[in-house]
Symmetry: C3
Subunit: 202 residues, 3 copies
Amino acid sequence: MIFACGTRFFSIGLSLPELLQLDRESMTEFWYDFDQALFNLFTLPLPSACAIAGHAIAGGTILALTCDYRLATAEKKLLGLNEVKRGVPVPYLADLILRQTVGDRSATELLYRGNFIDTEKALEIGLVDEVYQNEHLEERAVERIAKIATHPQHAFTTIKSNRLEAIQLRYEENNRSKNEEFLNCWFSLPVQKLLAIAAKKF
Amino acid sequence: MIFACGTRFFSIGLSLPELLQLDRESMTEFWYDFDQALFNLFTLPLPSACAIAGHAIAGGTILALTCDYRLATAEKKLLGLNEVKRGVPVPYLADLILRQTVGDRSATELLYRGNFIDTEKALEIGLVDEVYQNEHLEERAVERIAKIATHPQHAFTTIKSNRLEAIQLRYEENNRSKNEEFLNCWFSLPVQKLLAIAAKKF
Amino acid sequence: MIFACGTRFFSIGLSLPELLQLDRESMTEFWYDFDQALFNLFTLPLPSACAIAGHAIAGGTILALTCDYRLATAEKKLLGLNEVKRGVPVPYLADLILRQTVGDRSATELLYRGNFIDTEKALEIGLVDEVYQNEHLEERAVERIAKIATHPQHAFTTIKSNRLEAIQLRYEENNRSKNEEFLNCWFSLPVQKLLAIAAKKF
């Protein structure tokens, strides 16, 4: 499976203006659904890649992390997880995948500081695997997955499940309490104010 | 302990022609014995190294992964895990060690694609630790282990057991079901056909 | 929180001459207290950094590992964990943090060999994050933490607790038995002799 997008935005994440209208019950329902969707993408029993031609920030980076491979444009587009600046933690699953993908020090740097980085820096730290000119990007993403998809299916899914295993175990054990922590942050008064300010830029 | 070999092959792994003659009961018995042997090498309470002077593919790379250090020839010899192309997963223990040794992204690349890499590339990603000319290779492997073997034994074994711990825990928890998955793959009809084709090259 | 020090020593670790006078009961009490102190520093719900202007060996490196960030002098000062040469394992918590911080291969190299490395090499393997001239070192450490400390507290502590989680889980499960192993090593006769020799250099 391949995620692609326009050349301006891959995804800039969740729509804050809409989410801020939800009460705790509705937001809780949405958040668990969103979380389950990410988990389903992450555990997809197929090779997956994304072709990041535009900015992929916050939810955009989170979506990209669910894929086996991340290919990105050579143009100056941004990735990153600025959740900490808004007063909320990064979704637990994305945190776990990021640490496994780029290692402890690069993950800590992205998560603690909340700054965006361009695709060149993302390549350097391993947040993206390859960088191409826009006109070749989707083609390369297809090529990368297509070869792997020719392998016998059962062997591939077992090998992929080994890769997911450590994350899946921690996710299943802790995710409920992490989601509650997220929602507690989200609905605290100072954070609602920060989110309202951020929502104005949408 | 040091593993060495001839300059043509370090090990090209299990003998497919012989294994394909085994019925499920005999293959199961062999597979659990092989798996236990790898685990015993991995948990050896001594420093261990291998001197890879020749090709070390599939089972050869797996054997090398059980050592504390992997030294290899500067000649163009191949390493890699092509199991996925044959339709079977890499043994669980080897998968776990590989991920811990070279990190998630390099491990995924080797496991998903099933391609071989030369010792220079293996050095770059950390699959081997050092590369030497053949005439110095075994001597260097001895040197590397000898210094460590002079440390007080109990301190070394405790430090080594810390290194093994995360893998050992997951291995003991999941290995039985992973071995059954391997055997299910092995005895499926399409995979038996792929293995029969591969066996002709032996 | 920031740890700083003089330009000669950051910390050269525990005072062997004093510790060697303790009987098993007193040493056990000290060791569990020391261990708890390290754990408290590691799990501090604030961003933390150390400014390593002088040598930081054995306990000095261990102390530095409890911080989120390690900044060091550009001068030729040493870091490292030589416990294996003295006949004792590195404290379990430090072992776990080191592996998560610098990865399996660099951690194994430091722990198995017990050699010291200079700050330049430490930067290369990721044991320190940044290197500066002494006159800028503390200022830079303050800058690094200050920006992060402006983020909303609850989001930061949740993100930090995700970073600590894997280590904390293993620590809580195994630390008691690891401490007993340490004490068994410490009080074995050959190790007491090695420690007595080392104590003379203090």
